[in-house]
């Protein structure tokens, strides 16, 4: 299995060192893995869609080591979320075509970073249902699992994200 610390480093390299939110980090890593096939982290399905325990642990450890700075922010609903800044070793991770720090990858990640996390969650979950679980009627299943999030508008935006990544076809 790919070293999750390396996936974390590469994901931040592709994101110019800044990612807001744990959900966004998980979904970017999942979608990049599907697009580039450059890693083989093990994802399982959790309440926000595909989730890698190893990546989550790697993030926590990196924060504890000081390689990543975690900046808590408060929502208008009384809870907190975090923005993460990479402080660790700065060497470029495979600055080659299709690699995590390549311009085209950075451009893709820059677009993903601008999406609301709900859209990334839906995009990753649609891909998971279609490809990993091979659910025939993924749309119906998505609405069962995420009834309020899976509006037609949000699904359409999520499909747009998958299309931009070349993952719209399913496999």
């Amino acid at each position: 299995m790919t070293d999750p610390n390396e996936v974390l480093r590469q994901t931040f390299a592709a994101a110019n060192g800044e990612i807001v939110g744990r959900i966004r980090l998980q979904k970017i890593a999942y979608l990049l893995q599907q697009k580039a096939g450059s890693s083989d982290l093990f994802f399982t399905y959790h309440h926000y869609g595909p989730f890698s325990r190893e990546l989550s642990d790697a993030l926590d450890w990196a924060v504890m080591r000081g390689d990543i700075e975690e900046m808590p922010r408060e929502t208008g609903f009384g809870s907190t979320y975090s923005a993460f800044h990479w402080n660790g070793p700065q060497e470029e991770a495979g600055d080659v075509a299709g690699g995590p720090a390549a311009p085209e990858t950075k451009a893709v990640v820059a677009k993903l970073k601008k999406q609301p996390s709900v859209i990334l969650e839906l995009a990753a979950t649609i891909h998971w249902l279609r490809v990993k679980e091979q659910v025939d009627d993924w749309r119906e299943q998505l609405k069962i699992r995420k009834k309020l999030k899976a509006t037609d508008v949000n699904i359409s935006r999520a499909e747009g994200v998958l299309g931009d990544l070349g993952l719209a076809g399913g496999a």
Partner: protein
């Protein structure tokens, strides 16, 4: 003919299934199905009873307790007795009789798909799937939904006799990631019926006294709030759902409630000895499910556990319905007499409570994550061949809201309190007794050893690292 049925329960006292309540009568019928009776043979806390001998309670008693709690919470909603300061939308389900019964049944059946030794079993299945190059396993929620939909099994049949739409409606509640309305909060929220039972029952049955749950006061001070379903405030129009929160009068009790959960995690669920035995159970199930191993020790391929573990892909729900702790213990007893060294050692460990020696790096190094990680890497490299056989590794991070899978709680599971200045997550008050430390991730890395010489070698690495 409908009759009133009663169950005496150490946590909730008398639980009554009323003859005049059609959902109570359905629940009683469901309890008496083979699928539900299987839960009598699955311990709620797996091998925790190796450390807390009283903790022999089962998913059966827990599920009935959850039904009891759900019935109380649903009534509060049905009778409009929960204060809702801003009348947040209830998504058209206010006082819905259909929705009430769906949620009550879902609460009763929420654990129907749990396997033997719950989390250790799913961990072993995940390891087997990875070894086979599979990217996913079907988890207990999937099997719960399948058992509920299965028209050839008693639960699915009884539900559809009651109402043909009911199996699908109940299964969808169990499959849902997010709350769909306030009724959903009864089965998934910071104050859901499941949590209300296990926090009290696990505390009582383990005999631990830390933390407390002031249930009646918390129930009296429940309110409804709209919360966002995503964790990040990056959407100008976030998707929101109604869920439970508390009025300010219950802030102290709500703090205690959250701390009771945290104390159970640190002192019971993550207890180092329990986790060691869970690792051994997981290793043994993984060994049994690896190709050719069952045959080596003379266990037939049509044994339900072997059939389930060695199926192409995930095992069938029909095989799953035959699995329980007793089925696994039967195999453990056989393996304890085996001539194969690895499974015999694993089995004897469990049969004789011969606990593996624990080396706790996090206790030794405190919060020095660099030291923990450096030493962890050295020990892992030194014992890479022995991992899963005579050496076991347990690692992760924990914090105030995290679950046993190391996953942070979703938004609707955070505890919130309404004040005159707005709603706040409970640890965000200036005068909270919840320490800042509990909100930060705490690492834990532990190694378990069968052999003393291996333990000593690892301990030397650890002490030299200091």
């Amino acid at each position: 003919m409908a009759t009133t049925q009663r169950i005496r329960d150490p946590i909730h006292d008398l639980i009554v299934f009323d003859e005049k309540d059609e959902v109570d009568q359905l629940a009683w019928r469901l309890i008496n199905t083979p699928e539900f009776q299987r839960l009598r043979r699955i311990r709620q806390l797996g091998v925790s009873e190796f450390v807390f001998p009283g903790a022999t309670h089962t998913r059966f008693t827990h599920s009935i307790g959850v039904y009891h709690n759900a019935r109380r919470l649903v009534r509060l909603i049905d009778e409009d007795r929960i204060d809702s300061p801003e009348e947040p939308g209830r998504n058209g389900t206010r006082s819905s009789e259909d929705r009430s019964r769906v949620i009550r049944v879902a609460a009763l059946l929420h654990d129907i798909g749990h396997g033997p030794f719950s989390h250790a079993f799913e961990g072993a299945r995940t390891a087997l799937a990875r070894a086979q190059g599979r990217e996913k396993i079907k988890k207990h929620e999937f099997y719960s939904a399948e058992l509920i939909r299965h028209r050839d099994m008693a639960i699915g049949r009884f539900l559809s006799e009651f109402d043909p739409a009911l199996p699908e409606q109940v299964a969808q509640v169990i499959e849902a990631d997010d709350p769909a309305d306030i009724y959903h909060a009864v089965v998934s929220s910071s104050f859901d019926a499941d949590r209300l039972d296990y926090l009290q029952r696990d505390r009582y049955m383990t005999g631990t006294r830390a933390g407390s749950v002031d249930l009646e006061w918390l129930m009296r001070n429940l309110i409804i709030e709209l919360i966002p379903l995503s964790q990040e405030e990056d959407d100008p129009n976030p998707t929101t759902a109604p869920t439970f929160a508390f009025s300010e009068k219950a802030r102290g009790a709500a703090e205690d409630f959250l701390l009771a959960r945290y104390r159970l995690f640190t002192s019971v669920y993550l207890h180092k000895t329990t986790r060691g035995f869970e690792k051994v159970v997981g290793a043994l199930i993984e060994w049994l499910g690896s190709p050719g191993n069952a045959a080596k020790v003379g266990i037939e391929g049509d044994h339900p556990l072997i059939r389930f573990l060695t199926a192409d892909g995930d095992g069938s729900v029909e095989d799953y319905a035959h699995l329980d702790d007793i089925v696994v213990w039967g195999l453990i007893e056989r393996l304890g007499r085996s001539t194969e060294a690895v499974p015999r050692r694993l089995a004897r460990c469990l049969l004789d409570r011969d606990r593996p020696k624990c080396l706790d790096l996090s206790r030794h190094f405190g919060t020095s994550s660099a030291m923990i990680q450096g030493t962890d890497g050295k020990i892992m490299r030194m014992f890479s061949e022995q991992l899963g056989k005579t050496v076991f590794r347990d690692y992760g991070t924990t914090s105030l809201y995290k679950d046993l899978g190391g996953v942070a709680a979703s938004e609707h599971k955070l505890i919130r309190v309404r004040t005159k200045d707005g709603v706040k997550e409970i640890s965000r008050f200036d005068d909270t007794i919840i320490s800042e430390h509990l909100k930060r991730e705490a690492p834990f890395v532990r190694y378990y050893f069968f052999n003393l010489d291996e333990f000593d070698r690892a301990r030397r690495i650890m002490t030299e690292g200091r």
